[in-house]
């Protein structure tokens, strides 16, 4: 499908992304940077044992390191989005890469636990926050028709890199001890910088706004900040609804990752069997991401409907997990885990792809930032809640049931989005700006034409 891009309108650059060529290079960059952010975060468990021994602290104190890192990544996402809106995505990602690497390099010199919180937690978390959201938003901006597939391919790196990084980190720790291993990881994280360099700087459509607001300097700073952060989104019902749905989803989503192994052991399976179940779920997770991305782009269904289906299925399978393991049959547990892995991977690649449908491509950057921030609370809530349920009831059935129900609740929330039950995507709202108000009619017609031709 050829895109007719009128060269005069700067806004059109951001409204549509061409599906091809450099877009796939950016998918590769997303692949590498996501693996270095989330794949690395997931494999930090290798250092856990070393830290406990060296610093002689409790396991809980050490686990706060990765919690801080994840929380910082999600907290600073809106900041990353705002900076990209204000400045250049390329510079932001490259800075983020440098910060992430710097945090790990400094962590290798840590002499107490607080150092690790500050370096591996805050500094690296800040770096990761500046990297992830801009990269995702940039890739989404560069694709229209193949958006979900691009995201699916990009996110498949998380699962693959977890497989690759675990033995690699183990080897590094054995040869160099944790200090040397962290230093080398810092170096590896610096590879995010070339990924960021691959982003082409774009013309900013905000420049007209800036010129207008120069007359009132003080109010304009607040105005600019809020427009960079896309805070106006918080007042829009579709966005709020969607964010709430994703938050509910996040509460239940991570529970199996934390508790599946422990639950399998409790149900009577051996250590190796339990670990294998997790690995198998991880493998189907990767498959699910790519497959759902490809399938969604075929265009037979609306992305939102597909997302609802995958989320519901994932919720159902999470609820079935304790049932299958209690029956004592290992194949049953295996099958349900595989299905759960597939569905959870499938929904991951769609969660972000739906956002432009709701807020419009222009505001994707800020929307993603805020989404990450709000859903971070859910992630923090989910694991302790399920742990608490386990302590109270003595087994994991209640926590899995609750987790699954949260996912289904998320689907129900999504069903309240406007135009949910229509078969075609509604036109995404355009960002209201002083210029656009004049040509509101014209701008509303044109994107809807292009959007409908997508489906």
């Amino acid at each position: 499908m050829t895109k007719n891009k009128p060269k005069a309108e700067g806004q059109r650059d951001e409204a549509e992304g061409q599906d091809g060529g450099w877009g796939w290079v950016l998918v590769g960059a997303l692949f590498v940077s996501t693996s270095l952010v989330f794949g690395l975060m997931r494999s930090l468990g290798i250092f856990f044992v070393e830290f406990v021994q060296y610093f002689e602290e409790s396991a809980q104190a050490i686990s706060w390191i990765s919690s801080t890192g994840l929380a910082a990544q999600q907290f600073f996402s809106p900041l990353g989005a705002a900076l990209c809106n204000a400045y250049d995505a390329r510079v932001v990602v490259m800075t983020g890469g440098c910060l992430a690497g710097l945090g790990l390099i400094l962590a290798s010199q840590a002499t107490c636990l607080v150092h690790l919180y500050l370096t591996m937690g805050v500094i690296s978390g800040l770096g990761w926050g500046l990297v992830f959201t801009p990269m995702v938003a940039t890739v989404m901006a560069n694709f229209t028709r193949r958006r979900a597939l691009a995201l699916g391919l990009g996110f498949s790196s998380i699962g693959l890199s977890s497989f690759a990084f675990n033995p690699l980190f183990q080897l590094l720790v054995e040869v160099f001890a944790w200090r040397g291993a962290l230093l080398i990881l810092g170096g590896l994280s610096l590879n995010i910088v070339p990924c960021g360099a691959l982003i082409r700087p774009k013309r900013r459509s905000k420049s007209p706004e800036k010129i207008n607001s120069e007359s009132k300097p003080r109010a304009s700073i607040l105005h600019r900040v809020s427009s960079h952060l896309e805070l106006s989104l918080l007042f829009e019902r579709p966005y709020i609804t969607y964010t709430l749905a994703v938050t509910l989803l996040n509460v239940g989503y991570f529970v199996p990752y934390f508790h599946l192994v422990a639950h399998s052991r409790q149900a009577g399976f051996s250590e190796y069997q339990a670990a294998f179940v997790m690995s198998a779920a991880g493998a189907t997770d990767i498959l699910g991401r790519v497959a759902s991305g490809w399938f969604s782009d075929l265009g037979h269904f609306r992305l939102l409907h597909l997302l609802s289906i995958w989320t519901t299925l994932a919720g159902v399978f999470i609820m079935l997990l304790p049932v299958s393991s209690l029956s004592g049959s290992y194949p049953a547990l295996m099958v349900i885990s595989l299905l759960y892995g597939f569905c959870s991977g499938a929904l991951t690649s769609l969660v972000f792809a739906v956002v432009p449908m709701i807020v419009g491509v222009a505001r994707v950057m800020g929307a993603l930032g805020l989404l990450q921030l709000i859903e971070s609370g859910a992630g923090l809530l989910g694991a302790p809640l399920s742990g608490f349920l386990k302590d109270v009831t003595g087994n994991y059935i209640a926590s899995f049931m609750v987790a699954g129900s949260f996912l289904i609740l998320g689907t129900l929330t999504m069903a309240t989005l406007p135009h949910y039950f229509s078969c075609k995507d509604p036109p995404p709202p355009q960002r209201p700006s002083p210029e656009d108000k004049d040509k509101s009619l014209q701008s509303e017609v044109e994107p809807s034409v292009t959007e409908r031709s997508v489906i």
């Binding site: 040397g180 170096g187 070339p194």
Partner: protein, 378 residues
């Protein structure tokens, strides 16, 4: 103990003086040292009695200058000796706990715990493991059901570590279609551990392997740490094994094992079945083998850990390699873009005037449209 040492030194001095006055000082000094070890007051008595005799004899000799000295000395010596005797008798009950690696020596007169181990053999050989913690009086009972033909008498004997124990050969009668061998062993120290076997006429053998609880799997990879850093060397007993009395740490050197004493450089933290050796301010000399020993009453079980101290340049090399790679990639990407934008610049000369305003000083990649048009063609 210090008091005992002090006393011993005083007494030794006295005796040494007497040795210079032509008495048999050497034997007396030697016997006194033995006295200290055994803490036996009885021996003092004997020696004192002997010394009094010799002194009497010497005092009967024609007196000259040296002898007068002896006479005076002997009077004082009698008093002192008596006092020392009293002190020795009271000190006898102090437990002499020695420094160092060996298990604490036991009071030989206290009765040993009794332990019985038995096995009924049906085939021709079997090995049984016996885990011992403290010194015991071990009764081993072997029962053999016999082979095809059951002679009424066979010769049985006991052996330790393959060597036959003297005077252990006995004739075994067939009772209730079984042969029985029974013997009591006193297991007091590490030397008494080993493999004890009862042998029925060379046809059947039961081995009892006496040992302290063994350490579990040892970590075969060395622990790595850096110069100037501190390191924690752990050692752990399986949960199923009993708790040792204490832990000791040793360093391997040319002559064998040398015990590590906690101080500024080393700290030892014991926690029942786990122990940690913390080494501060690592130097290159600290690399090598370390042994942790779990001390039980009857012996010590060893675990082995290797420590490797490396300098910080080791990981720095791959790090710098990665850094160089990153810089090269970034430079390549930016240069590629610059060269492309220059081509676009010259190619799209018409629309260049619009774009010149938006070109920033450092990096530019030319008009988005023309490059994307090129993409579409590709």
């Amino acid at each position: 103990m210090e008091r005992e040492l002090c006393l011993s030194v005083c007494v030794i001095q006295l005796w040494m003086e007497s040795a210079t006055r032509k008495l048999q000082g050497d034997t007396r000094a030697a016997s006194l040292l033995q006295l200290k070890g055994e803490g036996g007051g009885l021996v003092v008595l004997l020696h004192d009695a002997a010394s009094r005799e010799t002194r009497k004899r010497s005092s009967e000799r024609p007196a000259h200058r040296g002898d007068r000295g002896i006479i005076i000395m002997s009077a004082i010596r009698k008093q002192l000796s008596f006092q020392i005797l009293l002190l020795f008798i009271s000190c006898r009950n102090i437990n002499t706990k020695t420094l160092g690696a060996t298990a604490p020596p036991l009071d030989p007169t206290a009765p040993l715990q009794k332990l019985e181990r038995s096995y009924v053999l049906k085939g021709d050989s079997h090995t049984e493991k016996v885990e011992l913690l403290n010194p015991v009086s071990l009764v081993l009972m072997c029962t053999w059901t016999g082979s095809q033909n059951k002679p009424t008498n066979i010769t049985g004997f006991w052996s330790k570590d393959g060597k036959e124990i003297e005077n252990s050969r006995v004739t075994v009668q067939l009772e209730n279609k079984q042969y029985n061998l029974k013997r009591t062993f006193s297991i007091a120290s590490e030397a008494d551990l080993g493999s004890y076997s009862c042998d029925f006429g060379g046809e059947a053998k039961i081995n009892f392997v006496l040992a302290v609880p063994q350490m579990g799997d040892e970590r075969d990879k060395p622990i790595v740490s850096y110069l100037g850093d501190s390191v924690v060397v752990p050692c752990k007993l399986d949960d199923s094994k009993p708790t040792p009395n204490t832990w000791n740490w040793y360093r391997a050197n040319e002559t064998g094992k040398e015990q590590i004493i906690a101080g500024q450089k080393f700290s030892i933290k014991n926690d029942e079945k786990k122990t940690k050796l913390v080494i501060h301010d690592l130097t290159a000399d600290d690399s090598g083998l370390y042994y942790c020993g779990a001390v039980y009453g009857v012996g010590i079980t060893m675990g082995r850990v290797e420590l490797k101290v490396i300098s910080f340049f080791e990981p720095l090399k791959p790090f710098i390699a990665i850094l160089v790679e990153v810089i090269i990639l970034v430079a390549a990407i930016l240069l590629y873009e610059k060269s492309r934008s220059k081509k676009d610049y010259t190619a799209a000369g018409n629309g260049a005037t619009d774009q010149t305003n938006t070109l920033s000083s450092g990096e530019n990649n030319g008009p988005e449209e023309s490059s994307s048009m090129r993409q579409r063609k590709v």
